[in-house]
């Protein structure tokens, strides 16, 4: 009985998709192997959120993470970025437990409003995130910024490969 249950929850990697659905909107989807209430917990409790929001390969350190998940509550993430600090912050606009979360990104003009919905099916949860930008130009610029960031990470990856190779010698 137990063995059967174990095989049902065998880890499985699902596909992440990103699509630009309009001039102002990006949609990201992914199915996570767990019920919506647990995915919700991981998204709304700071001590869990900080375990996954910054994948290790990003090479960034999360200095602090405060999430006040209620309508009108705010969040603030502070990263170490070289010698300086970089903050991401905003306000929760809609909070429907286990189902829907909407927040603003207020680092500057042109930041998107993000909506994520949690849909549970057979013990797994489909996440659909919408990033709605104020204009086409803002999305283009946001994409450029994300690209610049990603390129930095690629450089970091290369550095790690080099370091790894020299350590093996």
């Amino acid at each position: 009985m137990n063995a059967r249950r174990e095989s049902e929850v065998a880890p499985m990697t699902n596909r992440t998709t990103v699509e630009r659905t309009s001039e102002r909107e990006l949609v990201i989807t992914r199915t996570v192997n767990g019920p919506a209430r647990l995915v919700w917990e991981a998204w709304t409790r700071a001590e869990l959120f900080r375990q996954w929001w910054v994948p290790k390969w990003l090479g960034m350190t999360l200095l602090s993470c405060e999430l006040d998940v209620r309508v009108g509550g705010s969040y603030r993430l502070v990263f170490a970025h070289g010698d300086s600090e970089m903050a991401f912050f905003g306000t929760y606009k809609e909070v429907v437990p286990h189902s829907r979360l909407v927040w603003t990104n207020e680092e500057g003009d042109g930041c998107p409003v993000t909506t994520v919905t949690f849909t549970e099916e057979e013990g797994r949860t489909l996440l659909v995130m919408h990033d709605l930008y104020p204009s086409k130009e803002a999305l283009d610029a946001g994409g450029g910024a994300a690209d610049a960031m990603a390129q930095t990470f690629e450089q970091l990856d290369e550095l790690l490969v080099t370091l790894g190779a020299s350590a093996e010698r």
Binding site: N14, T17, G34, L38, V39, W52, G143, A150
Partner: protein, 121 residues
């Protein structure tokens, strides 16, 4: 979207298969030019050059703008390829994030099971 990219690729390929059109792209890489300028440089009729520019325009390689009686041609932004590149990088970031989220949720599920067992004991 994939379909659109394929069509776009085919159009680019057809546009680049002609030596005059490749020459026009090279020329526009140096400076913007009117259809009349291009027709003169490539010793062609205006109508012939308009056709070539039309093909390049459809492929997204060239954009044109008519001001008064002059149509100016310049290199197109070829946004599709740039956009596909940053969307793919963005996807990789989210993919990595969600892989970590899976681990956190897996750990929560494991803890719940342990708690259930404890309750039963």
């Amino acid at each position: 979207m994939v379909q659109y990219a394929q069509t776009h690729f085919d159009a680019s390929f057809a546009a680049l298969s002609d030596p005059t059109r490749r020459g026009v792209l090279e020329q526009l890489g140096r400076a913007d030019a009117s259809i009349t300028d291009l027709a003169g440089k490539f010793r062609m009729t205006l109508t012939g050059m308009k056709k070539h520019v039309g093909v390049l325009e459809q492929a997204g390689l060239v954009t044109t703008e008519k001001v008064g009686r002059v149509r100016t041609c310049r290199l197109g932004p070829r946004r599709l390829e740039e956009e596909a590149a940053w969307i793919e990088r963005y996807r990789q970031l989210w993919d990595a994030r969600f892989d970590e989220l899976d681990k956190v949720v897996e750990e929560l599920k494991r803890k719940e099971k342990v708690d259930e067992r404890k309750k039963r004991e």
